[in-house]
C-alpha cells in the first residue's frame, strides 16, 4: 500500500447473511488482531452489514473491553446485525464512497459465498477507481457449502446441534416408539442433514434414514424405505433436508405448494415453516397406517441456539478472523487493489489427530458458487451417510455426549 493510503487508514468489519453460532468468534478474532496493528487507526463495525455501510452506521470496535469481547464471542448470531442485501456494482460504488469518506483501506466481511462476492465486487470497483483497498472475506455458514475451504466456520456448531438433537430424539423414540420425521436446514447442500448421524452410538440408533438434496428421492421410495425400517425395528427416525427434491428435480416443498396439497397457512418458504415435515408425516400416516407419526422442523434453533458452541468450531472461527487481518497486513511486492485481497480458507492436515491450517484463496474462487456433499459421503441407497462423512465431520463438533439406553439389556 502506498504511504498516502496508509496514513490514518481505517478498517471496516461486517457480518452478513444468516447468523451462526460462532460468527461472533470471527468478529472478535478480527477485533483482537486489529488492536495489535497500528496501521489500523480505527476499526469500524458496520451495523447490519452493507446496509449499515451505505447508511454510515458504525460503532467503534477497538474501544470494547476484553470482558465485552468475551461475551460477544460467546454469543450466537451476528452481534453487529446482519443484512440480506446482495450488492451489485452500483451498491458497491456507494459502499466505496462511504469508505472514502472515512478513509477505510481494509474491509473484512464475514459471510457466505454472497459475501465473498460482495468483497470481490467492492475490491474491483475500488481498483477501477484507483482507490487502494484490501478486502478480505471470512467464511461462515451452517450449510457448509463454500468452495475451496475444507469446511466452514459455523458448520461444526450447527452439526453439534443436529447430533445432540438426534441423540435425544433417538432415546425419546426408543422410549415411546413410532415414526418420527425431522426436517433440517441446509438449503441445497446436505451437510447439515447428514450431521444428524454424528451422534449414533449403537447399530440401531436413529436417524435410520437421511435424505439430502444431492440425492433426489421419489415419494414411493421414501415410503418404502420408512416401511422397511419400521417393520424391522418397530420404530423409525427420518431426517430430511429442507431442500430435498423429487426424481424430476423439483424441490418437494415447492411440490406441496403447487399440487394443492399445500396447507392453508399462506406462503411456504424453505425455512421457518413446518409444512414439509407435516406433509411427510401425513403421507406416512396415510400410506403406512401407523398410528404414532410425529414431525419436527428444527427451524432457527439450528443456527441460533445459545450456549452450545463447538469448541473446535469456536477456535477456528476466531482464528479465521485473526488470519484475515494478518493477511491484510502482509505487504507483498507491489500489492495494490485486487492483489492483496482474498478469502480465508481451511486446509485439513490430518484427521487423527485432527489438525488444520489456514490459507488465503482468491475471492473469485469462493464467490457465488456453492459446494454439495461429495458422492463418497452419501451411501449407495441415497438414504444415509458413509463412514467417510463421519470421519470428516465428527471432529468439527468438538466432541459429543455419550448416551445409554437400558431397554435393550437382557431380561431377567
Amino acid at each position: 500500500m502506498t504511504k498516502a493510503a496508509k496514513a490514518g487508514a481505517n478498517a471496516v468489519v461486517g457480518q452478513s447473511g444468516g447468523p451462526t453460532g460462532v460468527i461472533n468468534a470471527s468478529l472478535v478474532g478480527v477485533i483482537e488482531e486489529a488492536k495489535k496493528h497500528r496501521e489500523i487507526a480505527k476499526l469500524y463495525g458496520a451495523v447490519h452489514a452493507v446496509a449499515g455501510i451505505v447508511k454510515d452506521e458504525f460503532i467503534d470496535l477497538k474501544k470494547l473491553s476484553a470482558k465485552t469481547l468475551k461475551a460477544v464471542a460467546g454469543s450466537t448470531s451476528s452481534a453487529l446485525g446482519s443484512s440480506r442485501d446482495k450488492p451489485d456494482a452500483e451498491y458497491c460504488a456507494r459502499i466505496l464512497d462511504a469508505f472514502k469518506r472515512r478513509n477505510v483501506r481494509y474491509f473484512f466481511y464475514i459471510g457466505g459465498n454472497d459475501s465473498a462476492n460482495t468483497c470481490y465486487i467492492i475490491n474491483k470497483v475500488a481498483g477501477e477507481a484507483g482507490y487502494e483497498l484490501r478486502a478480505f472475506h471470512i467464511p461462515k455458514t451452517i450449510d457448509n457449502d463454500l468452495l475451496v475451504t475444507d469446511h466452514c466456520p459455523g458448520y461444526g456448531t450447527a452439526a453439534k446441534f443436529e447430533a445432540c438433537a438426534l441423540m435425544g430424539d433417538d432415546l425419546d423414540n426408543r422410549a415411546l416408539p413410532g415414526i418420527k420425521i425431522n426436517c433440517v436446514m441446509g438449503r441445497n447442500a446436505g451437510f447439515l442433514t447428514a450431521a444428524t448421524a454424528l451422534g449414533k452410538q449403537r447399530d440401531d440408533d436413529g436417524p435410520h434414514l437421511i435424505y439430502m438434496p444431492e440425492k433426489p428421492v421419489s415419494m414411493d421410495k421414501f415410503i418404502g424405505d420408512v416401511d422397511g425400517v419400521y417393520k424391522k425395528l418397530g420404530r423409525c427416525i427420518v431426517c430430511v433436508s429442507e431442500g430435498i427434491c423429487d426424481t424430476d428435480g423439483v424441490v418437494w416443498t415447492k411440490k406441496i405448494t403447487d399440487t394443492g396439497e399445500k396447507d392453508a397457512h399462506g406462503n411456504i418458504q424453505l425455512s421457518g415453516t413446518g409444512a414439509l415435515a407435516d406433509f411427510l408425516a401425513a403421507q406416512v400416516k396415510t400410506m403406512l397406517k401407523v398410528n404414532r407419526v410425529r414431525a419436527d422442523t428444527f427451524g432457527y434453533l439450528q443456527r441460533s441456539f445459545a450456549g452450545l458452541q463447538s469448541s473446535v468450531d469456536f477456535k477456528e472461527a476466531r482464528q479465521c478472523g485473526i488470519m484475515a487481518v494478518k493477511f491484510a497486513m502482509k505487504e507483498t511486492s507491489g500489492s495494490t487493489g485486487l492483489t492483496t485481497s482474498g478469502s480465508v480458507a481451511i486446509k485439513r492436515l490430518s484427521d487423527k489427530p485432527y489438525k488444520i491450517e489456514l490459507f488465503r484463496t482468491e475471492l473469485k474462487n469462493v464467490a457465488e458458487k456453492t459446494k454439495s456433499m461429495p458422492a463418497e459421503f452419501i451411501n449407495s441407497q441415497g438414504n444415509g451417510v458413509t463412514d467417510a462423512f463421519v470421519k470428516y465431520a465428527l471432529p468439527l463438533t468438538g466432541g459429543l455426549p455419550k448416551t445409554e439406553y437400558l431397554g435393550s439389556y437382557p431380561r431377567v
Copy 2:
C-alpha cells in the same frame, strides 16, 4: 412390613409418560439408594413401564456398573422405555399378579400425575388383596403441572432449553429483524412457555409477548399486541403455548382443525406438528402486511435434547429417586398397605440462596389433578410473565449463558 413379606422382598422401578432430560437421574437415584439396602434383594427395571410389568419384561438394575449408571444419568429420555398406558383397576390387578410372582414389595414409579394415580390404584388393589406393598411416586414432567410440589424434576432442564432457545432467537431476530412466532409445549399449563422469558437480559430482549393457556386470548387481541410491539421495535418475538385457547375457551389448535382452516396434512395433535405456529404466522402476515414472518415449533427437542441438563434439576431429580427409596424403607408403627406409600415432593426453603428440601405427600394429593400457573406469575395484560415468575423459575435452570449485542451501541 411383616417378616413374611420382608423375606426375599424385591423392588420394581419404572418410568412413565413423556420423557424428560433428567428422568434418568431419578432412576439412577433409585438404583444407587436401593443398592445400599439389603431389604431389597433385587431391583427390577420394568421395560416400558406398566406395559413391561404385565408382560414380565424386567432387567436387573443392581448389576449395572457405576460407569453405566453415570452414562444413564447423563442421558435424556427414559432409559427403561416408557408407556402411555393408563392402568385401570383391572390392569392394576394384573400388575399385582406380576408383583406376587416375583415377590415385589416395593414399587417406584417415575412420572406425572397419571403415574401417581397408577401408584395409588395399585396400592389400593394390593391393600384390598392383603398383599403388603409400598408404592412410591417420583415426580417428573417438563410441564411442571403437578400439585403439592414446588416444582417438578424435568422442568428446570426444559426451562433451560426454552431460555437458551429464546436467547439465541432474540439475537437472530436482532440481526435479521422481523416477526417471529414460537410454539412451545406444556399442555394446559403455561410454565414452559413462560420459561422462554428467563434469559432476557436487556429491556428490549425477546420474547416480547408470551401467551399461556391460563389466559385466553382472542385473535384480535393477539394481532393487536404483535402490531404494537412491531411498530415500537421494528421486530417482535412471540411465544405461544400449544395449549392457548380463545376467549370462548376453545383451544386454538382445535379451532384450526374445526374451521376448515386446518392444513391438509391429516390429524392435528397438540405436539409433533407445526400447524399452530404456521397458522399464526399466516394470520400475522395477512393482517399486518409484514414481509418477514417466521414460525418455529420447538417440538420434541424441548424434552429430549442431549447434553443440556440443568445442574440443579439433575441434582434434584436424582435426590427424588434416592428419597423415594428412603421413604419406602422407613418403618412407621403398624405401617402396612396404604399407610407407607406416597409421592416425593419438593418444598422451597428460600430463594436466595436457592434451597429446597424433599418431603413425602399422599399419592391421592398428586394423582390425576394438574396445576396451572398462579395468577401472580402472569402480567396484567395476559401477554407476559412477572418478576415473581422469574424469581421462581430462574434458579431451576442452573444458570444461563450471558449474551452481548453490539448493534445498539452508540454510533461513531
